[in-house]
């Protein structure tokens, strides 16, 4: 049964963004299971819980209270257990500094939150269907930021 759906997690402190996210996946014709967390602490607590199903793709907002996306990224990359999780940075801004930092820390892709719903759906369905094995091998700074 595990192969039937893609397991997706979003950590974002913004309620509206979480709503757009889950709404978008509901409309996408891909079987997914989406879980959202309000900040990094909740996310890490969940990820570190024994026996849970680890996500295939993790969407990380950067600017969150208590524990930022960057901190989560560092912790995840330090733990071999999470090696198979594809990490997508999911942020409002796309400043050079943020892109640089997250790229170095080992995120897989950087998504600037789109400002219309259609684009959002398109972007999300694209990201979850990426062959991560292939993408990671050919990853460079140029294709790190997702263009849409």
């Amino acid at each position: 049964m595990q192969e039937d759906y893609i397991n997706i997690i979003l950590a974002d402190d913004d309620e509206d963004d979480r709503l757009f996210f889950t709404d978008a996946f509901e409309e996408i014709k891909i079987t997914t299971r989406v879980k959202t967390f309000n900040d990094g602490v909740y996310l890490m607590d969940y990820l570190n819980t024994d026996g849970i199903q680890l996500p295939n793709v993790l969407f990380l907002d950067l600017n969150m209270p208590r524990k930022s996306g960057l901190e989560c990224l560092r912790e995840i990359k330090q733990n071999e257990k999470f090696n198979d999780i594809a990490i997508a940075i999911y942020s409002t801004s796309a400043s050079e500094e943020d892109i640089e930092k997250t790229f170095i820390k080992g995120a897989n892709i950087y998504i600037k939150k789109p400002s219309d719903f259609k684009t959002l759906k398109k972007v999300l369905s694209e990201v979850v269907t990426i062959n991560w094995q292939y993408h990671t091998n050919s990853m460079n700074k140029e294709n790190f930021l997702l263009r849409f």
Binding site: D14, D16, D17, T92, S93, S95, S115, D116, K118
Partner: protein
């Protein structure tokens, strides 16, 4: 200077040697002439003595002859006394002459000849006695003998005369010689004296010149010393020397002033000086002074001194050691008051920190602009897109139109945020300056403001612009801001009228252009009929976040005009504003022409 003086010293030494030599020569010559004079007088005496002795001999001979004649006539032996005494006297005289003439061979031979003659004469006397027949003086043998005696006597007399004249001749030649000699000596002496006078004059002249030179040098030194004093005061420097062996210090006047004291008001010693040093620096300074003794060159020493009035001054000292003529180590030092430098350095540091803070604030502002402002806007846009997609059938055509308008405004706001962000981040180097059609940029700006323009019924008239080298998006922003401002601050009950004019001007004719970089400028004026402003705020309105009005009266962030200023400055241009309350404002932009 030192070189000419040393030259002079060797010159003077030469003069001294020359003078000493001349005096020695004069002395020697004088000694010689005195000796000569003595010698010549001795010679004269000698000659006279010889002559006297000769005369004596002749006279004795004559006495003997007279005695002989008397005896012959009288037969009285009394007459023979003079003969015998004459004889012994002649012998004595000869002995005397021998002594006198022992060095004179010519005289000697003459005397020997004379002696022979005299002996002959005496023999002739003897013969005449013995051969004298008793009382017969007519005896022919006697007469002949007697005649011989007379002849002998004559020849003796002649001989003596010749000797005397010979002697006189010699005397005469010697006299001449000496006279010549003595004549030459005074001349030589006189010329030598003249010579030494000349030497004296030259030496005097030289000494006089040297003294004058020394005086001038002294004066120059005095002036130099004074100017050194002055420059020490002006540059807040003091200087000192330290003879390490004798532990003797000298402090310049200004060094005393550096520690807040009157010049030379205390004995220059390290202990006295340390009294003024800040207690925290005493130990280190003492240590470093100790090190100075050993090292030739030292790094700068920094320490503080406390004046009597409590003022703290920062000093910086530098010392260099030299070996003087007595082979002692002498440290030459300079101490400077660097309080002002330190203060301005600190002020600079503070300014730097402030700038850094400002920069941080600015970048956090950037972040806020890029992130926090975009977030609500993005949500507005996303909801609008969902509204359009999912609820379109539930909306009236008016509603759809409004949603369109909201979308447009939101898009413009996004652009503005992006531009603003870009603008605040970018410096000129990042932007491409290109030949741009200003008319199009103005049109785009008007488009941007279309809503407000139509809402306010604003009238915008403008000249036709040539193409100008600008950063297009920035100039468009400039137009938007200036036009937007003019409309925003419209006068009550009037429709806003904005007149945009363009002309090319000579930088020298425009008093608003300060230190122009180019000869000619595009002058673009924006004249409105709005509320205007007090002239005193003409500068202030361009500063960031400055507002002349209450937020309740007019909306605005106070960024607009400062952005305008920054844009114009990016183009190496100038922007000025002038206004009259109630009548309107004029904004003037100058853009340089290459």
């Amino acid at each position: 200077m030192i070189k000419t003086l040393s030259n002079n010293i060797s010159f003077l030494r030469t003069m001294l040697y020359l003078s000493a030599f001349v005096i020695l020569v004069v002395g020697a010559l004088t000694y010689r002439s005195i000796t000569e004079v003595t010698k010549s007088s001795e010679m004269v005496t000698h000659t006279y003595k010889v002559n006297v002795e000769l005369e004596q001999i002749l006279s004795n001979l004559k006495d003997a002859e007279t005695g002989q004649r008397g005896f012959i006539i009288t037969r009285d032996s009394v007459f023979l006394d003079s003969y015998t005494s004459g004889r012994s006297k002649i012998n004595n005289s000869f002995a005397e002459l021998k002594v006198l003439t022992r060095n004179d061979t010519l005289l000697n031979t003459n005397l020997i000849a004379l002696n022979g003659l005299i002996n002959k004469r005496l023999i002739a006397f003897q013969t005449s006695y013995s051969s004298l027949p008793k009382d017969d003086i007519d005896d022919p043998a006697f007469i002949s003998n007697f005649r011989d005696g007379k002849y002998l006597m004559d020849s003796i007399s002649v001989k003596i005369k010749s000797i005397v004249s010979l002697q006189n001749n010699i005397l005469e030649t010697r006299k001449n010689e000496y006279e010549n000699d003595l004549m030459a000596t005074p001349l030589l002496l006189f010329s030598l004296l003249l010579c030494s006078l000349v030497l004296m004059y030259v030496a005097y002249n030289n000494i006089y010149k040297n003294i004058k030179k020394l005086k001038a040098t002294n004066e120059a030194l005095e002036i130099f010393k004074e100017s050194t004093n002055q420059s020490e005061i002006v540059s807040k420097h003091g200087s000192w020397t330290w003879n390490v062996k004798d532990n003797v210090f000298t402090f310049s006047d200004n060094l005393y002033r550096l520690v807040g004291e009157q010049p030379q008001s205390f004995k220059p010693t390290i202990e006295n000086f340390l009294n003024y040093v800040h207690p925290e620096d005493v130990e280190q300074l003492s240590k470093q002074t100790e090190q100075m003794k050993e090292n030739v060159e030292l790094p700068y020493i920094y320490y503080r001194v406390v004046h009597k009035n409590g003022n703290i001054k920062h000093l910086k000292a530098y010392g260099k050691s030299l070996i003087n003529e007595e082979n002692d180590t002498v440290l030459l030092g300079t101490t400077a008051d660097i309080t002002d430098e330190i203060m301005s350095f600190r002020a600079l540091e503070e300014r730097n920190m402030e700038l850094e803070r400002n920069n941080k604030e600015l970048s956090s502002f950037n972040y806020v602009a890029s992130h926090d402002l975009q977030e609500p806007l993005r949500k507005i846009q996303t909801f609008l897109s969902r509204l359009e997609d999912e609820e379109a059938e539930n909306l009236s055509s008016k509603g759809t139109k409004y949603i369109d308008r909201i979308q447009n405004a939101a898009t413009r706001m996004r652009l503005l945020i992006d531009d603003l962000l870009q603008f605040s981040r970018s410096n000129k180097a990042d932007k491409v300056i290109e030949e741009s059609n200003i008319n199009l940029l103005l049109e785009a700006a008007k488009q941007d403001l279309a809503e407000v323009i139509s809402a306010e019924n604003a009238e915008i008239t403008s000249d036709t612009f040539p193409t100008i080298k600008v950063i297009p998006f920035q100039i468009q922003q400039l137009f938007i801001n200036l036009l937007g401002n003019a409309i925003k601050y419209k006068a009550e009950g009037k429709t806003p009228k904005i007149v945009i004019k363009h002309k090319v001007v000579d930088a020298e004719d425009e008093e608003n252009i300060v230190k122009p970089k180019k000869a000619f400028y595009h002058k673009i004026t924006f004249t409105d009929n709005g509320i205007g402003f007090e002239e005193q705020y003409a500068e202030q309105i361009f500063t960031l976040f400055s507002r002349l009005h209450n937020k309740d009266e007019y909306s605005g962030t106070g960024i607009g005009l400062s952005i305008c200023k920054k844009i114009v400055e990016n183009h190496s241009g100038y922007i000025t504003a002038s206004g009259q309350p109630g009548k309107g404002a004029v904004f003037t932009v100058y853009l340089p022409i290459d």
